[in-house]
């Protein structure tokens, strides 16, 4: 499983992104970190170039809905249908549902347990990847 942890937009709070990157790395995944201040276009380009299975968006400012919308639109434009998208950050419960409606395979709001993240990447994500 190849995962790209991505920081879209101007948000510079990357503690969570880096912690999750370490977590996935320790769990045996191949992890790439985009670094800060990436546009959605740049993230999609990098994801295609690096041939990743999952894009893990990290958004701490509350701007996750428009960013997610834009990302999914860009993926459709590029005819990419084999990359899963997950979202982590400061996310309220109603927004978790909205993100899933927009196409997120999983959402990890602040306070999500490591075990839950690992379960998704080790058990659910491979199944979802196979299905598409």
């Amino acid at each position: 499983m190849r995962v790209m942890v991505a920081k879209p937009g101007l948000d510079g709070h990357d503690r969570g992104a880096k912690v999750v990157a370490y977590l996935l790395k320790d769990a045996g995944m191949d992890v790439i970190y985009t670094g800060l201040h990436k546009s959605v276009d740049q993230i999609v380009e990098m994801a295609i170039q690096e041939d990743v299975d999952v894009i893990g968006l990290s958004v701490m400012t509350g701007g996750h809905l428009p960013i997610m919308e834009k990302l999914m639109q860009k993926l459709r434009e590029k005819k990419v249908d084999d990359i899963l998208v997950t979202v982590g950050g400061v996310i309220s419960r109603p927004d978790v549902l909205k993100l899933k409606e927009l196409g997120a395979s999983a959402v990890f709001p602040g306070g999500t347990k490591f075990s839950e993240i690992i379960t998704f990447f080790k058990e659910e994500a491979p199944k979802l990847c196979k299905a598409i």
């Binding site: 937009g9 101007l10 510079g12 709001p109």
Partner: protein, 540 residues
């Protein structure tokens, strides 16, 4: 995070190890202070080495300043919030900017979409400052400007708005955060590479010492480094090494140490073990005085005085049972006042969800009033002094901070340690280890991995983002652009570019451009053109 690691047998505590790696004994006695000297290590408040505080009468002569972080959407809303906080007894402002402003982008920049006015006030031109500071007595109320990469521009605007409203430049007091190295470690609001970024900070220090002498031109932030995962010892040692990098740069310009070092302040974090934090601040105050005296032979008393803002940190708060954060905040405020801080602020209880609502910001403010008015925290100076435990732990913390500082200096100082990613790697790794410890129950966080209760998220009132902010902001930007003299803007920007290329102090040129209503985006583009951009070192 939680304060310490505990080894227990049943309910009996067998071992306590603080975050800083210090083992806490079950009892402290005069034996633990064998090498401790009253005169040398403690002394009187207001006197070297300032362990007990930097003023002789501390909170008797003047209470601590409370400075809640605030700033919303438009400058007009921000102005209203400022007036609300001042009316409720707040004595200093702490301005939050939105991310585009912090990144030197105008509100109509494509990268700004969705972020205009979201986490703070949007600023494009001087006009926005005119609205935000309207009706505020800038000679009486000091302002923290929470901005770093383009702090020079924010300070130039502050000067221009003060002049516009007729305040004396010798009386206004701004504290731009202006600490770019910590942005590269945590928080991430950097633009230019390490070298030019430090040069810009040098410009603001040199310029303000001459033009706005009551400015605190740099607030070195251990706070964000700790929020990013550093332990208390790393927080202080990295902050000190950052300050040293700025000081050494300014000294190269030929300024005298006593001319500026007393105006460098520190912004530090409070969460975790209560005694470890209090002793961290006491140790930092003493070690800073010793460092400035030993290294730089500073002579002025003020140069040796460690000025700090101690803020109750968001990293200590939990999303679970958010009301518990009100209690945590009260303890953080207690720590701040027992530590002899000059200024304090608290993250509000709902900050794990959103930026504070007026109600939660008011609770934070009242927490400090309760300490001052009901609990007697102003009554006597440094009441914990002389406690075997507190003095022994203060000394141990100082020693550990010294060791970590040495490590950074051995790899070539902070500028290099940040450019190479050494500090970022240390801090990120530590953050991961802490989260693991919580996950595995080795570090306890109430409501997270112990004493959890089922809860309903809907109980928290949230601050909603208003997308009309963008329209209003872009409209004002357009108006300003239509009204200003474009030839004057072009000329001031050209002068700015020439000065930047020539390596001159850019501040006077920024002030001119600001007064011509050049936008933050325009001025930043000029600097970026000359300086280039910071490349993040890979840490994985």
């Amino acid at each position: 995070m939680s304060g310490a690691m505990y080894k227990k047998e049943g309910d009996e505590i067998k071992e306590v190890i603080l975050e800083s790696g210090i083992k806490v004994k079950s009892l402290y006695t005069p034996e633990d202070l064998k090498n401790w000297d009253y005169e040398k290590d403690l002394g009187l408040p207001g006197e070297f080495p300032y362990t007990r505080g930097i003023h002789p009468e501390m909170y008797r002569s003047r209470s601590w300043t409370t400075r809640q972080y605030s700033g919303f959407g438009t400058p007009k809303e921000t102005n209203e919030r400022f007036k609300f906080l001042i009316a409720n007894g707040q004595t200093g402002l702490n301005v939050a900017y939105d991310l585009p402003t912090q990144m030197g982008l105008d509100s109509d920049d494509p990268m700004a979409v969705g972020e205009v006015g979201r986490v703070g006030m949007a600023v494009d031109t001087l006009r926005d400052y005119e609205v935000a500071f309207e009706g505020i007595d800038l000679e009486r109320i000091g302002s923290g400007l929470t901005i770093n990469a383009v702090a020079s521009i924010a300070l130039a605007m502050y000067q221009a708005v003060a002049e516009k409203y007729g305040f004396s430049l010798s009386k206004i007091s701004a504290t731009p955060q202006n600490d770019i190295l910590k942005e590269m470690v945590g928080r991430g609001m950097w633009i230019f590479p390490v070298g030019p970024s430090i040069k810009l900070i040098g410009d603001t220090i040199e310029y303000s010492s001459k033009v706005m002498p009551r400015t605190y031109p740099v607030s070195v932030c251990g706070y964000h480094i700790r929020e990013s995962g550093a332990n208390p010892v790393q927080e202080i040692s990295y902050a000190f090494e950052i300050a040293i990098a700025y000081i050494d740069h300014v000294l190269e310009r030929g300024l005298d140490i006593d001319n500026f070092v007393g105006r460098i302040s520190f912004n530090l974090d409070i969460y975790g073990n209560l005694f470890e934090q209090i002793c961290k601040f006491r140790a930092a105050r003493r070690l800073w005085a010793r460092t400035i005296k030993e290294r730089y032979s500073a002579k002025d008393k003020r140069s040796l005085q460690f000025r700090m803002l101690a803020g109750g940190g968001g990293a200590g708060l939990t999303k679970q049972q958010p009301e518990n954060n009100i209690v945590r905040g009260a303890y953080y405020a207690l720590i701040a006042t027992l530590s002899g801080t000059q200024t304090s602020a608290l993250c509000s209880f709902d900050e794990a969800y959103t930026i504070p609502t007026p109600k939660s910001a008011l609770i934070s403010l009242m927490t400090f009033h309760i300490l001052a008015e009901e609990m007697g925290l102003r009554d006597t100076i440094d009441p914990l002094a002389g406690s075997y435990y507190v003095e022994a732990l203060t000394s141990e913390m100082e020693e550990k901070i010294r060791e970590e500082m040495k490590r950074v200096e051995e790899i070539g100082g902070m500028a290099k340690a940040v450019a190479d990613g050494y500090v970022q790697r240390e801090v990120a790794r530590q953050a991961y280890e802490q989260e693991r410890a919580i996950e595995e129950g080795r570090l306890i966080k109430v409501g997270v991995n112990k004493f959890e209760v089922p809860e309903d998220e809907k109980d928290v009132e949230l601050h909603e983002y208003d997308s009309r902010v963008l329209d209003e902001q872009v409209k004002r930007l357009k108006e300003v652009k239509a009204e200003r003299s474009s030839s004057l803007v072009a000329k001031t920007l050209k002068d700015l570019e020439a000065a930047t290329r020539a390596g001159k102090n850019v501040m006077p040129y920024l002030v001119e451009a600001v007064k011509a209503y050049a936008t933050i985006g325009e001025m930043t583009a000029v600097l970026k053109d000359v300086y280039g951009e910071f490349k993040e070192p890979s840490i994985f």
